[in-house]
Amino acid sequence: MTLSDYRLDGWRGVISGFVIWAAYFVVIYAYLSVGCEKGLSDAELLGVNTVTLGLVAITMAALGSIGALGWVGFASWRAAARGNSEDEKTTAGTRNRFTGLLMMMTSGLALLSTILVGFPVLLLHPCQ
């Protein structure tokens, strides 16, 4: 089964993009706070602060998973929109189109929010 065939039903799909964003937000803030208070930022790897590296890795993971969700949403929306002939007229058809589209849109906005929250990591020293 490819990613495009994967389906998340109704409300789960609709909120999962932002659930990942929320988890991402909590994790980077906690990681940064603990990392700075407990001296993890003193170490460097390849000339980059390890806390920064960690933050970048977490951000990448979040972007990847939200992107995947967005793709699933897009695929379900397109599938429902194309629909087979009987499906198109039923309420199920319109409903799936709605949830698919909404899943794609929430993932898109969650992706945007993740980028906005994450890009200052590249601009600043983590602990000053």
Binding site: F18, A22, R95, A110, P120, L124, P126, Q128
Partner: protein, 847 residues
């Protein structure tokens, strides 16, 4: 606007239908009506409760407004002495507290309680007793807070109650206790209403109302209610911790003994920022209903709006530190919050432009509600723009805690909540009164409010930039603030006059307004299918909907509905019945029978008031008595819920037979317990957050001179607890298979194990070598253990309860709801301790 109502006219023509409809009306009225006289206090119906919330909310609005007027008088001139600093502190604290906790949240919940069942096509909320109980908690909490004025010790630490100013050293009087206890009381009400609204929206929508057909207001309320569940527990926990610190000398916030004052700020704002959106979203939801009606076309971008509501629901939890940009947090951490604070402009912008697009592509009629909408566009957008400015960290350093922020927050809250609320009030008035407001009378108050508001608050931006801090009871002459303050005070009187005229207009319209018939605005959603003023049961029969605006697309709906031809149109059961439907599709699943009028909610809230009063007065005997009475009342409440003789399968009309909720896997009670556990889990997570936060900022954790006690008791405790869970699983399976005797034995064994665990935990605490008064570490260990023990006691009460319910035949093979509820709570409590054990015993060992 010329109104025509073809469906209403058709109903009148169809006299045979009218007779039948009127017969059904009397039958349903007999079932749903509230008894007269003093017994009205026993009402539980959502229409009555909603109106009570709204009226009480307006009373507190007026009180909070009066406080602000007096503050404006004091600030009109430099070095003024109308109010002394002590009174001024009490007034600004109570103004903020009133507007946030006693006006904005409850009145919007009141509107939701009133409107949601009507909009989604059901007859009542699913837990009517809980609605009534929530109202009493709110009322008593409010009275509690305001009673402090009679003792001259109203709360005076600011509505944000920052420690250490509010701790026992710097605020020894009862002022802070009034706040902590009164606000917690009112918050119980908010959480109760939130859980109830979620279940109602998910489980009782009219047949055919799938997620994509829900009225937008229901989406807003659904998301807002989830936000309440995730936000309010943080402040409830914070308040509990501060009260324990004040009353018993525990340490959470005292930096000298391992606590930290920033812990309070985090807990407060994790609640406090979502709170702003909890206030804004329902009001915005009203706009999303009003605008399409007066634009005379369906809303533009329905999906976009749902997206924006969901996005705001999440993003608003990532903003809290923007209230703390000046406390000394590293730049990068600040930037996360700055980014989230700015990102929320995207969904907010989407909403605004969806509203504009609706008007643009419609044929709008400028009525009074739409005038208020226009006011929202100006005021709220301006407030939103200053909000983006405040998210710019360096700018925030300059204007934080100045009158600039006072201006900003009033633009956002009055523009985002009061103006929409008034638009909504005018819009839905016909449902309340069966009358229409006067278009000509309502215009002057609007303009007075709009101009008064801007004269008051627009100059305040400048006052703040010119250097005037907030929360000052006076200011020195000649700093350039004198005329600005005078202008603001004059404006505030205009604003107050405008608000007074609106309220007067609304009161007068009840007496003199023109009679309104059904659906005076020709709106599309189900609440307008109901005759005005609304009958207690809302719908004679429940329609099946086929679109987002059924009144626009389904011509025969009202007639069929009134002839009782649709779902639940038969009153023969003599029960209050709702239709339970599928969360996603809205297809019928069950019939839900709910409570009639009863005194139980009031009789539960009264001892709860005694419980809180005991805490305030520090007479803990009263607390104990109150607590015990609450438990008794709750047991009576639960025992009288459910009908032993009710059939498992009920005729739901339209040729459909459905299981009754006790026999349905989708019972509302099950969902409610899940959401309650969710709220409780947030409360517990906040407590664990406190532990880890203090660990992060500490030098030594646990403190150096502490030696962890023996592991014997806790390890035995874990074994006992896991065993109890296994027993509960086994008992539940026996119950499902019909072995009710073994089921009851299982409950008894679980009770014994629970009791053994209580003893073990007590021994463990006795073995612990620090007192909670010594260090924050010890305070947290005691609190985590104590918090969990309360859960075990509740789980044991529930086990005892299902034991007797099984004994008396309420729990049968086909009726497993109560077993499922008590089991899941048991397992949840056990899981809580697994986490607690990890935090207390494993985590320090890992360091």
């Amino acid at each position: 606007m010329t109104t025509r109502d073809d469906t209403a006219a058709a109903t009148v023509a169809d006299t045979g239908g009218a007779d039948r409809s009127s017969r059904l009306h009397h039958r349903f009225e007999a079932i749903w009506g509230t008894p007269p006289g003093i017994a009205r206090l026993s009402a539980v119906n959502h229409t009555s409760i909603g109106i009570r919330f709204i009226v009480t909310g307006f009373v507190f609005f007026v009180l909070g407004g009066l406080l602000s007027m007096l503050m404006r008088v004091q600030l009109a001139l430099p070095e003024n002495d109308v109010l002394d600093e002590g009174i001024y502190r009490q007034f600004f604290t109570m103004h903020g507290t009133t507007m946030m906790f006693l006006f904005a949240v409850p009145i919007l919940e009141g509107f939701a309680v009133y409107l949601i069942p009507k909009m989604i096509g059901t007859r009542d909320l699913v837990f009517p007793r809980l609605s009534a109980f929530g109202y009493w908690c709110y009322l008593f909490g409010g009275i509690f807070l305001y009673s402090s004025f009679f003792f001259g010790s109203a709360p005076d630490g600011g509505w944000f109650m920052y420690v250490p100013l509010t701790d026992a050293q710097f605020s020894p009087g009862p002022n802070t206790d009034f706040w902590l206890i009164g606000v917690t009381f009112a918050e119980v009400s908010a959480v109760a209403a939130a859980i109830e609204l979620i279940v109602a929206i998910l489980k009782t929508r009219a047949p055919g109302m799938s997620l994509d057909r829900m009225p937008l207001f229901a989406w807003y309320i659904l998301i807002t209610s989830f936000m309440i569940i995730f936000a309010f527990p943080a402040l409830i926990l914070g308040s509990i911790l501060l009260e324990i610190e004040r009353a018993f000398g525990f340490v959470f916030f005292d930096a000298g003994r391992g606590g930290h004052p920033l812990l309070w700020q985090h807990l407060f704002w994790i609640f406090g920022h979502p709170e702003v959106y909890i206030i804004f979203l329902p009001a915005a939801g009203m706009l999303s209903m009003i605008i399409p009606t007066f634009a005379r076309r369906p809303i533009a971008g329905y999906t976009w709006i749902v997206l924006s509501v969901i996005a705001i629901g999440f993003l608003s939890f990532g903003l809290w530190v923007h209230h703390m940009f000046t406390v000394g947090i590293p730049q990068l951490a600040l930037s996360f919050f700055a980014a989230a604070s700015m990102a929320i402009a995207i969904p907010t912008g989407i909403q605004i432009f969806a509203w504009i697009a609706t008007l643009w592509n419609g044929r709008p009629v400028v009525t009074i509600p739409l005038l208020f909408v226009l006011g929202v566009f100006f005021i709220f957008v301006l407030g939103g723009l200053t909000g983006v400015m405040l998210a710019l960290v360096p700018f925030n350093w300059q204007v934080h805690d100045t009158h600039f922020v006072v201006a900003h927050l009033h633009y956002v809250l009055i523009g985002g909540m009061v103006f929409p609320l008034f638009a909504g009030l005018y819009y839905w008035l016909p449902l309340f009164s069966g009358r229409r407001y006067s278009e000509s009378l309502g215009r002057a108050p609007f303009w007075l409010m709009f101009i008064g508001f801007n004269v008051t608050f627009l100059p305040m931006h400048l006052t703040g930039l010119l250097g005037m801090p907030r929360r000052v009871h006076t200011y020195a002459e000649g700093l350039g603030w004198d005329w600005l303050n005078l202008v603001s005070t004059i404006g505030s009187f205009l604003l107050a006059a405008g608000i007074a005229l609106v309220l007067l207009d609304v009161i007068l319209h009840f007496l003199f307004g023109k009679r309104a018939h059904r659906n005076p605005w020709n709106a599309g959603t189900l609440e307008w299918a109901i005759e005005a003023p609304v009958p207690t049961y809302n719908f004679i029969s429940i329609p099946r909907v086929q679109g987002r605006d059924p009144l626009w697309s389904q011509a025969e709906l009202v007639n069929k509905m009134n002839r009782g031809e649709l779902f639940l149109g038969n009153p023969d059961s003599d029960q209050r019945e709702l239709l339970g439907t599928n969360t996603v599709t809205g297809e019928p699943e069950s019939v839900i029978r709910i409570s009639k009028s009863t005194w139980i909610p009031l009789l539960t809230a009264l001892p709860l008031a005694l419980f809180f009063f005991g805490l305030l007065a520090r007479v803990y005997v009263l607390t104990a008595i109150g607590g015990a009475l609450v438990v008794v009342a709750a047991l009576v409440w639960l025992w009288t819920t459910g009908h032993r003789q009710a059939p498992d399968i009920v005729d739901a009309g339209c040729g459909v037979s459905l299981p009754i909720q006790y026999a349905s896997p989708q019972a509302p009670g099950w969902w409610a317990v899940c959401f309650t556990i969710m709220a409780d889990a947030v409360l517990y997570s906040s407590l664990l957050f406190a532990y880890f936060f203090l660990w992060t900022v500490s030098d030594a954790w646990p403190p150096a001179d502490h030696s962890p006690g023996s592991l014997a008791f806790p390890l035995i405790g874990i074994v006992v607890l896991l065993a109890s869970s296994a027993v509960v699983v086994w008992a539940a399976r026996c119950g499902r298979e019909g072995a009710s005797v073994r089921f009851r034995y299982g409950q008894l064994v679980a009770l014994v194990l629970g009791f053994a665990f209580l003893v073990l935990q007590t021994l463990m605490l006795l073995d612990f070598d620090m007192r909670p008064q010594q260090h924050a570490y010890a305070s947290l260990v005691y609190t985590i253990v104590g918090f969990h023990l309360v859960h075990i006691v509740i789980a044991m009460l529930m086990a005892g309860f299902v034991f007797f319910r099984s004994w008396f035949g309420y729990i049968t093979v086909s009726r497993q709801l109560e077993t499922r509820v008590s089991s899941i709570f048991w397992h949840y409590s056990v899981f809580q301790w697994l986490l607690g054990f990890g935090v207390i015993y494993l985590f320090p060992a890992m360091l």
